[in-house]
């Protein structure tokens, strides 16, 4: 039986712990973990902005509250559970009915003054711009 032992790297363990801690506090799910938080969020970014999308079908946008700080966003809302009129009963009830509030940390800094949100076909689309000074910049190397 042949075994290959990788040399023990003390920094690797510490890095793993750091990554785990970051994940735990970021409010995002680890891959494969059954996520309890609602709504599910997809997050994308490029040099200019951070985009978040969430599926919130049939939501009354009057009851939707979005808060943006420099490093986190909070999505708060409520699905009404309108009581059924007399004579009607649920044979099946799966759709969301309650209030929800979710805070997610962002991987990069954003400018809370320049946030755009839209809600179309039941999908919430949030675009956050990165402040000028935090955008990645290319560094030219001078030949000395």
């Amino acid at each position: 039986m042949r075994r290959t032992f990788t040399p023990w790297d003390p920094w690797r363990e510490l890095n793993q712990i750091q990554t785990e801690m970051n994940r735990m506090f970021s409010g995002l799910a680890r891959p494969g973990q059954r996520r309890e938080a609602f709504p599910a969020i997809n997050m994308y970014h490029n040099a200019e902005s951070v985009v978040l999308t969430a599926e919130l079908p049939g939501l009354d946008t009057e009851k939707l509250d979005l808060t943006v700080t420099g490093r986190a966003i909070t999505i708060r809302g409520a699905y009404g559970k309108a009581p059924l009129p007399d004579g009607e009963t649920y044979l099946r009830q799966e759709r969301p009915t309650a209030e929800f509030s979710r805070t997610v940390e962002l991987p990069v800094a954003v400018d809370p003054q320049r946030a755009e949100a839209s809600y179309e076909k039941g999908v919430l689309f949030l675009k956050l711009h990165r402040p000028e000074e935090h955008k990645p910049r290319k560094v030219t190397i001078r030949k000395g």
């Binding site: 409010g27 995002l28 799910a29 059954r34 996520r35 309890e36 938080a37 609602f38 709504p39 599910a40 969020i41 997809n42 997050m43 994308y44 970014h45 490029n46 951070v50 985009v51 999308t53 599926e55 919130l56 079908p57 049939g58 939501l59 699905y79 059924l84 009129p85 004579g87 009607e88 009963t89 649920y90 044979l91 099946r92 009830q93 799966e94 759709r95 969301p96 009915t97 309650a98 209030e99 929800f100 509030s101 979710r102 805070t103 991987p107 809600y119 076909k121 039941g122 999908v123 689309f125």
Partner: protein, 136 residues
């Protein structure tokens, strides 16, 4: 800090095929969450199909099986890197067996804000039919 108090599951699931077969499709397929409401004169099916509108949705009725289908195009995010994807984007599909008491001609459906509402009216004479017996 998160404090979701939502009763429904947040995860998306693949739909159960009526005959147990699996799908061979290029795009992921999910079963939409539904509410089924029974009222005196009709059955209401409400399905969450975020990302779809009335042009992306179709309803098929074959024999006793009602199938709802909705297709969703992922948002155009060219040039962006995904940081986290907690939900997949794909087609929605789910089938239901409906009883003979439904008046098929009267089925109506609307889509708004990613919610499909189907109204299935019950046939007026939904009770058992009485057949008179004559002396032969």
């Amino acid at each position: 800090m998160e404090n979701g108090t939502v009763t429904a599951q947040a995860q998306k699931h693949e739909p159960q095929s009526p005959d147990g077969a699996e799908r061979a499709r290029a795009q992921a397929v999910y079963a939409p969450r539904v509410d089924i409401i029974d009222s005196k004169d009709s059955l209401h099916l409400v399905a969450d199909v975020p990302g779809a509108d009335e042009n992306d949705t179709e309803i098929c009725l074959e024999k006793n099986v009602l199938t709802i289908r909705a297709s969703v195009r992922p948002p155009n995010l060219e040039g962006y890197t995904a940081v986290e994807t907690e939900y997949g984007i794909g087609e929605f599909e789910r089938s239901f067996t409906i009883s003979n008491e439904i008046d098929r001609e009267g089925i109506e459906a609307t889509v708004k804000d990613g919610v499909l509402r189907v109204r299935l009216p019950k046939a007026k004479h939904a009770g058992a039919q009485k057949i008179s017996v004559r002396a032969g």
